[in-house]
């Protein structure tokens, strides 16, 4: 049995920050370099740790607009400069990676951080990693299914024998380093029912990535996870959610700073996916009724508490600093999240 639920029990609420390593803007309006952007995330994680934020999650992308392609390397850097914060990927695109290497790298981060490493597995929504690492996207489902299976077999940290189509077979293979308390694992899902059931099947905690629309639409997926776990005989772990946000001192300032950043980011991705340009109406609608947690600490806290109640979610991870935002505004956001938003949400949830 794995110990992936060690970080969340049903009576606690945990709060995290997620970043893809977007390039922040400099004072002159130009973008930071990739190395600077990576160092910026490390500084933000150090601040988050000081403020008692529970988790930093780093996404894996292979595009010019995001500096982090190797989350666990950045996490290793953060590991030696922080004390308590959980160090997660968000997500590790397992389909185009090797489960054995993923285990080894995260087990190493786990050692460096005294047991704080966590792998959040996902299929990912970008596709760049597939041609980059020599995988065919037409095998998307099979790659993920097989690799999750192998990864789950590695977690007990005993010799593994495994055979599949997507990588070389293993015969009684032992993988190192061993961890002290087991590696933290969760699975990130964007709304595919099949993926929700898969999380239950492998006895992994579920994190719902909700990036648009009313969060309560996802309540049936939480129920699906629980029912599937019951049917299969696994544990329904506390469920988490992840959504984008932006916090500043006032609603007005937050919207002023977030709008151009979100629009730039959305339109850039939309170009390759055939989305129409992001509109101001869409932005405001998502803030009012959907899944953009943008505003003053009070506005954001109320929205988070409402969503967590609606989904019975025990963890909330905010994707912060999406799009070109100044380093200063990002640090301010981390500070407001840790000092104001989280205490307010906890207060609201205890009522």
């Amino acid at each position: 049995m794995t110990k992936q639920s060690k970080k969340a029990t049903s009576d606690t609420y945990l709060f995290g920050l997620d970043s893809f390593g977007d390039l922040p803007t400099k004072a002159d309006g130009t973008l930071m370099s990739h190395p600077d952007a990576i160092r910026q995330v490390v500084e933000e994680a150090i601040l988050a740790d000081k403020l008692g934020i529970n988790r930093i999650g780093l996404g894996e992308h292979h595009r010019p607009d995001y500096s982090i392609s190797s989350p666990e390397t950045v996490l290793a850097g953060i590991a030696t400069r922080t004390k308590n914060i959980t160090l997660s990927s968000a997500v590790t695109v397992l389909s185009s990676d090797d489960p054995v290497r993923v285990f080894e790298r995260f087990a190493t981060v786990d050692a460096l951080s005294n047991g704080r490493a966590q792998v959040i597995l996902g299929r990912g929504s970008f596709t760049e990693s597939f041609p980059l690492f020599g995988y065919d996207l037409r095998d998307y489902n099979e790659l993920f299914e097989e690799k999750v299976e192998l990864f789950s077999k590695l977690l007990p940290e005993e010799p593994v024998t495994w055979e599949g189509k997507t990588r070389a077979a293993l015969k009684n293979a032992d993988v190192y380093p061993k961890t002290e308390k087991g590696l933290g694992v969760a699975i990130g899902v964007g709304g595919s029912p099949e993926s929700v059931i898969r999380a239950a099947r492998y006895n992994f905690p579920l994190i719902l990535a909700i990036i648009g629309g009313a969060p309560d639409r996802f309540a049936p997926y939480v129920e699906l996870y629980r029912q599937a776990a019951e049917d299969i005989g696994t544990t329904a772990h506390p469920v988490g959610m992840h959504s984008p946000g932006f916090i500043a001192e006032t609603d007005e300032e937050a919207r002023k700073l977030a709008w151009p950043a979100f629009k730039t980011s959305w339109d850039r991705i939309g170009k390759t996916r055939g989305w129409p340009p992001y509109t101001r109406e869409q932005f405001l609608y998502e803030i009012e009724h959907g899944s953009l947690y943008v505003g003053s600490p009070e506005t954001v806290a109320k929205k988070i508490a409402k969503a967590m109640k609606a989904l019975d979610a025990r963890t909330f991870d905010m994707v912060y600093g999406g799009g070109p935002v100044s380093a200063e505004a990002r640090l301010k956001m981390v500070e407001l999240y840790g000092t104001k938003v989280i205490p307010m949400v906890k207060e609201l949830l205890s009522q």
């Binding site: 596709t127 597939f130 964007g190 595919s192 029912p193 099949e194 049917d231």
Partner: protein, 136 residues
């Protein structure tokens, strides 16, 4: 009108939820036997009927294709002939592979599907096609 939805992924389930909310009797199929989608249908779209694709084709009066374009080939085309089909598929190169391997160069995907299915009417529902992909 009885809508049938072929595809039990994000799009298919969402459309089934909306159709149920609007008061329709709805059937949903996934790939393979109904057991695979039974739990999803029961929990996410209570009231909808899980069927095989062949049964959906027979039962429904309007059929929505909510599957990846590359999966069209796996459909039981014969059973869809003469039906009203709303086609929500579109070409996503990374997932579906090169276009020329699936659709003739001179046709849109829905035109190609219309010819293969020779349905009564074929609507290309472009709107759906990109609305369900997520960023993240």
């Amino acid at each position: 009108m009885k809508p049938g939805i072929i595809g039990a992924g994000k799009l298919g389930i969402t459309l089934a939820q909306l159709a149920l909310k609007a008061g329709y009797e709805v059937a949903v199929s996934g790939s393979g036997d109904t057991q695979k989608i039974a739990l999803s249908v029961k929990v996410l779209t209570p009231g909808a009927i899980a069927m095989t694709t062949k049964d959906v084709a027979q039962w429904a009066e309007v059929i929505i294709l909510a599957i990846p374009l590359g999966k069209f080939r796996q459909l039981p085309v014969e059973s869809l002939k003469g039906k009203i089909v709303i086609d929500a598929t579109n070409h996503w190169p990374e997932v579906d592979g090169p276009r020329e391997e699936i659709i003739p160069e001179t046709l849109s995907s829905s035109e190609d599907h219309a010819r293969k299915l020779s349905p009564k009417h074929c609507l290309q529902a472009k709107l759906f096609s990109n609305s369900c992909q997520r960023v993240g």
